[in-house]
Symmetry: C2
Subunit: 352 residues, 2 copies
């Protein structure tokens, strides 16, 4: 088994064991809470790329710290934080699917219908998803606190953990504001990308792992030089997948970002590069919730024709190159260098 | 100044100082985040009874621990947790007001309108309230962690903190399920009350303060014997105020619970005690979102006529008596006894 696959299995196992302990105290409160914890379990154990745990783990190893179950648990706690962010994001975006399955609020709307309860099934679903997201946010904290590190390691890691949690929520808010404002510039889209992905998905997990492992200030700077451009590459790839991605791999309907009218860097570049006819197509179809498959194809063609897709690919390559150049001179432990190289490539070229 | 008023001012000051430090790291991310932190500030510093901090503080003193700024800060962090619960609750219940002011989601829907942004103002408001609630939940943690207690005190307190946070979210979910099911029994309403209020509002804060102060197991049991019946009294008083409360004092529209169709113990008792004509009134008007002032008056009269209001008052008195009896023999430090007696009375007889 590859080291990456092995790590993913260990993260899954850590989450499984955490839930095994965390669920009974909830269901013992009342049996009606069983669907809530079952939904958390399904969400958490149902795939996911475990990217954030991987960066956290390898940040730890980069600091020269040994492999341990503690770092796998601490890294896995990032999946609980991410679960909160995704559940709440799906309520905010009214997304019907997540990882190819119904989103949490859809799942609970369905429960409401099956039980023939009173009131609005959608409202019930949203309530459940908001509260389950809160529970995941709390559990993230508990899992990190119980990962087994010493107090001194926690003291180093806590400011990073706090900053990361705050940044992800602020990034989500800025994202919502960008959608509401509409017509954002490439620069504004990239700013949200830096916050939502560059820091949250890559730099902070690297720093968290490194801090738990006693990494030097110099290492922290190097990890930022590697992680920040890579995070932008991650988000730019996300933009591409949101428009051109294969639903079988992404777990999201084809062209979902187009239907939502997301103001990504890709879309901003397309708008900037569009001729009159293309601009007309973009204006009339972007953000149309009823956009069908043909409409998606039309918009894809327009985005390609404006040169925006190629430009985003160029930006991704540029950022990947910058990340790898930073890694080449970074004072990381040699045991971590191959994995950090592989991760950079995986993040930039993933298909889902 | 009374000791209670003095403590309230100290809690306010601790929150103010926390926000003074916590807000700049957020607004420095992007200026668009200013309305978010300003809304948090307005929500947190705008009144509130500071009941949970009071129980936490006096639980600490009950354990014989000295007064300190640390315990005031730790106690004040409960207001941040409560802010999350209330913001999310208002989204879930679609409540327009909180503490006499527009609820957070209404405030951000108004911002959306003023800015003439695209899309649905209500959806934007809900997104902002969900994310601001998340931020408050994270800040609660940060404030507790930075309160200045030693690692050993935290180790004692963390399991209580975790349990409390989980219980409040689970209590909210059970509340939503109860509303959806409709027609709940008195027993089921009281079960939710025990979870939402008895444990979360009173017992856990008492235990949190006592654990930070090194309270004995015996003290913990006594604080439960005092806190749990008192928490039920608190919730039962809440039921009364939701129907009969003065909007000037409660900060909620008159009869708000009736319009929402909340299945409180008070309502369940009214349904149980209703004759045919009264049952007809309850069925047709409870949960009517368009219920006007006259309708509220009719329902109030029905609830009084069934004897439910008097029965709830009797239950409150019974629980207050049980709490005071437990306090009389509890091994609490004598410095805390008068305040715990006053708190019991205040909780049971408050007007808002």
């Amino acid at each position: 088994m590859s080291p990456a696959g092995d790590l993913r299995e260990r993260v899954d196992k850590a989450l499984h064991e955490f839930l095994y302990d965390a669920m009974p105290p909830v269901t013992s409160i009342a049996e009606e809470l069983t669907p809530l914890v079952k939904a958390a379990e399904a969400f958490l154990l149902d795939g996911g790329k475990r990217l954030r745990p991987a960066f956290c783990y390898w940040g730890h190893r980069a600091a020269g710290a040994a492999d341990s179950e503690s770092i796998v648990k601490a890294a896995a706690s990032l999946e609980l934080l991410q679960a909160c962010a995704l559940m709440h994001d799906d309520v905010i975006d009214r997304s019907d699917t997540r990882r190819g399955a119904p989103s949490v609020h859809r799942r609970f709307a369905a429960l409401h219908r099956v039980e023939e309860w009173r009131g609005d099934p959608e409202g019930f679903g949203e309530a459940a998803a908001i509260l389950l997201g809160d529970l995941a946010l709390i559990w993230a904290d508990t899992m990190l606190a119980k990962s087994g590190f010493e107090a001194a390691a926690f003291q180093r890691a806590l400011p990073i953990w706090d900053a990361m949690r705050i940044e992800v929520m602020c990034g989500q808010y800025l994202d919502v504001v960008e959608q509401a404002r509409g017509g954002g510039s490439v620069e504004r889209a990239l700013r949200v990308a830096r916050l939502k992905s560059a820091k949250y998905t890559i730099e902070r997990p690297l720093h968290l792992g490194a801090a738990l492992g006693g990494g030097s200030d110099e290492l922290m700077v190097s990890l930022s030089d590697y992680g920040l451009p890579l995070g932008e590459a991650f988000q730019l790839r996300d933009d591409i997948l949101g428009v051109f991605g294969d639903p079988e791999v992404t777990g999201k309907p084809a062209g979902d970002d187009l239907r939502e009218g997301k103001r990504t860097a890709l879309v901003a570049l397309a708008v900037d590069g569009a001729n009159d006819a293309q601009a007309q197509q973009l204006r009339s179809r972007l953000g149309d919730p009823d956009l069908d498959e043909d409409g998606v194809v039309v918009l894809r063609d327009v985005i390609t024709a404006t040169g925006a897709a190629a430009e985003v690919e160029r930006l991704i390559t540029q950022r990947l190159d910058a990340a790898l150049a930073a890694l080449a001179t970074a004072p990381v432990d040699e045991s971590a260098r191959p994995a950090l190289t592989d991760l950079a490539d995986a993040v930039s070229h993933r298909a889902g």
